[in-house]
């Protein structure tokens, strides 16, 4: 790979031991994947924030870098943490967990990273433009920025994103290159998609089938950004889909080459079977919405459904601190709390220690959450649309 004089100096350790080590990781990745050079990135989003995911080894790794004075060079946001950073005590997050989570956040802040913890940075003040090179790592945020916005990022691992933030660069390969953004499989959708959970089920099914391919969707009649977010998140979880195109819906769909692709048809049958497959439990102890983090529109929808109701069992909706602020102002938070629900910010069910909080069965409308909860949170899952889930808790 060609390196500039300035970049050679980083490798020679002139900008310190931390940068040398991390830049070496980026050069190694660039060499493996055939990058010819490094390119500057406009922004970064770092995954590996919850203490539950990074554990003690990750915490030590981060504190070590922070203590050596490493600072980010570009706007950098964080993935969800393992708890609501302001309201954790009231929501019942364990104290020992909170102590370590706060240490993780302190280390990031010391490095100049904006400690806004969300999987939807594009809804919270980190919005790339079309064709901007970025280094993001949360898999659903990668999918959204590549597919719905048309920005360009590979699926970065937590540490490689952090390296990009501190070095301000990423190796130029993979999805940064136009020729690597062409679809490799066609998905013909022949079923009506009404709820977010329908998009989640579709995404789960397609991700399993295509693994790390680039799907081109036809037949999705309409979808708003919330639904596209649900679709991409599920595909990135059940497979490793980092980019998809959807006819008439995403910005690169008209520009890519789509002749001669293998076609997979998805009808009501496949969708129904996916719903069945994702259901491993009955009667949720808790319903958790907002995976990926809820938009204000999704919070307002829940507030409408909960208005004047009294929940027998808890309903949470997870979101970013920014959306929570808007929901507070609009009175949505009050409506949801009066009914017995909670708006939980900065975290989500997948990265929080819900299995330690006494919950065994969780109801979700997210294909991504349904994919992760059994393994990572030891939960039985009820996967259904929001209407059925809320009805069940009332």
């Amino acid at each position: 790979m060609h390196l500039t004089k300035e970049e050679e100096k980083i490798l020679d350790g002139e900008e310190g031991e931390v940068l040398e080590r991390l830049f070496r990781l980026l050069v190694r990745l660039g060499d493996i994947y055939g990058a010819e050079k490094m390119i500057p990135v406009g922004s970064v989003q770092v995954a590996g924030v919850s203490y539950k995911s990074v554990g003690d080894p990750g915490l030590a790794f981060l504190e070590d870098m922070a203590s050596k004075g490493a600072k980010v060079k570009v706007l950098t946001y964080l993935n969800p943490a393992g708890m609501d950073l302001e309201n954790w005590e009231k929501l019942g997050f364990p104290k020992d967990f909170a102590k370590n989570q706060i240490r993780v956040m302190d280390a990031f802040k010391k490095m100049g990273i904006v400690i806004t913890s969300t999987c939807t940075p594009y809804l919270a003040g980190n919005l790339p433009r079309f064709r901007e090179h970025i280094a993001w790592s949360e898999s659903s945020a990668v999918s959204f920025s590549n597919s719905v916005i048309g920005a360009r990022t590979n699926r970065e691992g937590g540490p490689s994103a952090l390296a990009a933030a501190l070095c301000g660069r990423t190796p130029n390969y993979g999805l940064h290159l136009w020729e690597k953004r062409q679809p490799t499989v066609k998905i013909n959708v022949d079923v009506n998609l009404d709820f977010s959970s329908d998009f989640g089920a579709l995404g789960y099914f397609v991700g399993k089938q295509v693994k790390n391919k680039i799907p081109y969707f036809t037949g999705i009649k309409d979808a708003n950004t919330d639904q596209l977010k649900a679709l991409g998140a599920a595909m990135a979880a059940s497979g490793a889909v980092a980019l998809y195109h959807a006819e008439n819906l995403t910005p690169e769909a008209d520009l890519v080459e789509k002749n001669g692709l293998e076609t997979i048809n998805v009808s009501k049958k496949e969708l129904d079977e996916t719903y069945e497959k994702l259901n491993s439990g009955k009667d949720p102890d808790i319903v958790i919405l907002g995976c990926p983090h809820a938009s204000l529109r999704e919070i307002s929808t829940l507030a409408d459904k909960l208005k004047g109701k009294h929940l027998k069992k808890p309903v949470w909706i997870c979101t970013s601190r920014m959306m929570k602020e808007a929901a507070d102002r609009m009175g949505f938070t009050e409506i949801i709390e009066k009914a017995g629900g909670n708006i939980v910010a900065d975290t989500c069910m997948v990265v929080s220690p819900i299995e330690r909080m006494g919950y065994k069965t969780t109801g979700v409308n997210s294909g991504k959450a349904a994919n992760y909860l059994p393994g990572f949170c030891k939960q039985d899952v009820v996967f259904a649309n929001i209407d059925k889930l809320v009805e069940g808790q009332a």
Binding site: G58, K211, S280, G375
Partner: protein, 127 residues
């Protein structure tokens, strides 16, 4: 078999082979190194000290930290062999210092085979 070096080093061990991709985050327990993903072909098995053979990574990008974590916790595989290593596994393997080679015809490796992994020369030998 000759492949591509992802992360340097040499290792020897018993192969544990998955025909399905592995998502380390939520797929492998960071404390024990045991596969916990429901219905995964390796569910319930430990990757500790094995040569872990699988087609490619999948799922969450936090997987890199899980690979780093299982190494620090002493329950990591001795080496990794893939059909195609994507960035998540590559980053984890490089940071953790686990030898890793890809572009290998993994169907030629069977569960229980003794495998010699010479990542420096991108060589995988079934003994």
């Amino acid at each position: 078999m000759k492949g591509r070096m992802i992360s340097p080093g040499t290792a020897e061990g018993v192969a544990i082979v998955s025909t399905e991709p592995i998502g380390f985050y939520g797929g492998i327990d960071i404390k024990t190194g045991i596969v916990i993903e429901k219905d995964h072909p390796l569910e319930g098995k430990s990757v500790k000290d094995k040569i872990l053979v699988f087609p490619c990574g999948k799922g969450s990008t936090v997987g890199s930290y899980v690979i780093y974590g299982i190494k620090k916790n002493g329950v990591a595989p001795a080496g990794i062999v893939n059909k195609e290593t994507e960035t998540i596994v590559a980053t984890g393997a490089i940071l953790a210092g686990i030898p890793c080679v890809d572009q290998i015809d993994i169907e030629k490796i069977k569960d229980g085979d003794m495998v010699l992994l010479d990542a420096d020369n991108a060589l995988v030998t079934v003994q």
